[in-house]
Amino acid sequence: MSSGASGGGGGGGAASGGGNSNHQRGAAQRPNGQTQNKICQFKLVLLGESAVGKSSLVLRFVKGQFHEYQESTIGAAFLTQTICLDDTTVKFEIWDTAGQERYHSLAPMYYRGAQAAIVVYDITNQDTFGRAKTWVKELQRQASPTIVIALAGNKQDLANKRMVEYEEAQAYADENGLLFMETSAKTAMNVSEIFLAIARKLPKNDQSGGGGGGAGGSSQGRRLAEGDSGSRGPAGACCK
C-alpha cells in the first residue's frame, strides 16, 4: 500500500525507464509474474554541481522522460522507483538534491543514512568533475562507510564537446572504488544500467537494509521484514 502511494513511477518500472535497453531487461525480468521472495529498499542520493543533469537522470530512470530544459531543483526532490534484479525487488528512494554551492549545507540530511549515491558531473565541463571529486571525498568522510558510490559522467550525447576524458574519470573511479559510467539522460544511455549496477552492488540480505548507518537504515530494515504483503504492487508492475 505504501509502495503504491509513493510509487512515483511504479507503473513504469525499470522496463519503461530504460525502454531502449533490451539486454538489461532480460536480467531484470522474472518469468510469469511469480511472487518475488525478497524486497529491499534503499535510500539513494544524487549529488553534483548545478545543471549537470541530476534531475534529468532521475526523470529518465523513474518516468522514462527527458526535458531539454529541466527546472532547477530547490532544496531537494523525492522520487521512488522499483526495479527487479534476479529474485529481488529493489525499491529505490531517490533524493535529488539542489546543485548550487550555497545549498551545500543542506546536503548532509540527504546523504545521511543513504546506502547509495550517484555523484554526477557533466563531461563537457571540467569544473563539474572537480566538484564531483569534492562530493566523493565528503561522502567518503561523512556518509555511511558502506555507502555504494557511483560516478556518472552525464551528457554523453555531447561527447564532441567533451572536456573530461573517459579514461581520466575511469582511473579516478578505480582509485576510489566507485562504479563509473558515462550516461546520457537525453538518449537514456546507461541510465537504468547505472541504477542496476548499484542495485547489484548493494547487500541484499533482507534484514540489513543494506547495512546503511543511521536511524534511517534500521527503520527501513524493519519495514522490509513486513513488506512482503504489500509487495504485489511494485513487484507485479515491474516484472510482468
Partner: protein, 324 residues
C-alpha cells in the same frame, strides 16, 4: 462542459497538470470571478484613499489586490518605491554595469530552466531577457547574495504579474534586502533560522504533527526549504502565490509562517497518515494540487484563521533564539 470552458493553460500562462481537476476548479472559478469583480469595484471606489486607513488597507489587501493595480500597490506597500527613490543609481544605469562572466553564465543556464512550461516564457524572447536583466543586475549590486537559485522563480512570477522589468527589480530588492534578509546569502543563515522557528511554532500549534514528523525523521528543511526560498512560487498555484505575496509585501515575512502553519493544519490527516519518510514527502508534494490551496480566496481566509494570533514580536523573539 466544465472541461471545455478552460484552456489547458492557466491565466498566467502555465500548463495545467495532467490530473488537473477541471470540475472543482470550475466550481471555484465561478465564485472567484464574482469576488474579483467585487474587489476591483471596491478598490476603484476608494482610489488612492485606500492608503489612508491602515486597517482598511490591510483588510483589503488580505482579500486580494486587483490585478491591474498590483504593480503600483506592491511597489508602494513593500517599500520598493522608497528603495528606488533613495537609490544612488537608476536601474538602467546598474544594468549597464553587468560584467561578471561567472555570474552571467550561471544565470544564463537557469533562464530556459525557469518555467519551461509557461507559454509566456517559452514563446517569446522578451521575458527571459527581462529575467536576465533583473537577476544579473541584482547579483551585481548585492554582492553578498549574488545569484541564488530560487530567485529565478520569484523574479519570474514578479515579471508575470507586473509585466515590467524595472518594477520587478525593485520588488526583488525589497524581498531580498528587507523582507527576507540573510535567506539568499551563501550561508543561507536566515533560512536555517526560520526553519528552526517553524519547528518551534509547529511544536506549539500542532504538537501531535510535530511529534509525528520527528518520529518519522523528517527535518523541516526537507519538506519546506522551497516554501521559504521561493516564497511558495513553484509550490502552490500561481494565483494563490500572488494572494500570499499581496500580504507579504504589506505585512512582511510573518505571512510565510502563517501559510506554513495553515498548510500543515489543512493537511493534518494526510500527514498523520504517512507512516514513513517517503510517504510524508509525497504528502508534502501533493499539497500543491489539493483543493484547499486551489481555492485561493478560501485559503487566505484559512491562513488568517488557522494561524491564529501570530505577532511580529513573537517571531522576532524566536528568530533571536535560533539565530545562526
Amino acid at each position: 462542459m466544465a472541461k471545455s470552458s478552460y484552456s489547458k493553460v492557466d491565466e498566467y500562462g502555465f500548463e495545467r497538470s495532467e490530473n488537473f481537476n477541471y470540475e472543482s476548479y470550475d466550481a471555484f472559478m465561478s465564485d472567484y470571478m464574482r469576488v474579483l469583480t467585487r474587489r476591483a469595484q471596491r478598490w476603484n471606489a476608494l482610489e488612492n484613499n485606500i492608503f489612508r486607513n491602515t486597517s482598511v488597507l490591510k483588510r483589503f489587501i488580505r482579500k486580494g489586490i486587483p490585478i491591474d493595480r498590483r504593480t503600483d500597490v506592491w511597489m508602494r506597500i513593500s517599500g520598493a518605491d522608497k528603495i528606488k527613490q533613495n537609490s544612488q543609481y537608476s536601474y538602467s544605469y546598474m544594468k549597464k554595469q553587468i560584467h561578471n562572466k561567472a555570474i552571467i553564465e550561471t544565470i544564463k543556464i537557469d533562464l530556459p530552466r525557469t518555467f519551461p512550461d509557461n507559454i509566456y516564457f517559452i514563446s517569446n524572447e522578451a521575458l527571459p531577457e527581462m529575467l536576465f536583466g533583473v537577476l544579473a543586475t541584482f547579483a551585481h549590486q548585492n554582492k553578498e547574495v549574488g545569484y541564488c537559485q530560487g530567485l529565478n522563480y520569484i523574479t519570474g512570477l514578479l515579471l508575470l504579474a507586473t509585466k515590467d522589468e524595472e518594477s520587478s527589480f525593485w520588488l526583488l530588492k525589497a524581498i531580498v534586502d528587507q523582507i527576507l534578509p540573510q535567506y539568499y546569502i551563501s550561508t543561507m543563515t536566515g533560512l536555517l533560522t526560520d526553519l528552526d522557528v517553524l519547528d518551534d511554532l509547529i511544536s506549539k500549534y500542532e504538537p501531535v504533527v510535530s511529534r509525528h514528523i520527528k518520529a518519522i525523521g523528517m527535518p523541516w528543511a526537507m519538506g519546506t526549504t522551497k516554501w521559504f526560498i521561493c516564497i511558495f512560487a513553484e509550490v502552490l498555484p500561481t494565483e494563490t502565490v500572488y494572494r500570499i505575496w499581496d500580504c507579504l509585501f504589506y505585512e512582511g515575512s510573518k505571512i510565510i509562517f502563517r501559510v506554513a502553519i495553515t498548510l500543515i493544519r489543512l493537511h493534518k490527516p494526510e500527514i498523520l497518515g504517512a507512516t514513513e519518510l517517503g510517504e510524508l514527502m509525497m504528502c508534502f508534494k501533493a499539497m500543491r494540487s489539493s483543493e484547499a490551496v486551489i481555492d485561493c480566496h478560501q485559503f487566505m481566509k484559512d491562513v488568517f484563521k488557522l494561524s491564529g494570533n501570530l505577532s511580529k514580536n513573537s517571531i522576532q523573539k524566536l528568530r533571536e533564539k535560533y539565530k545562526k
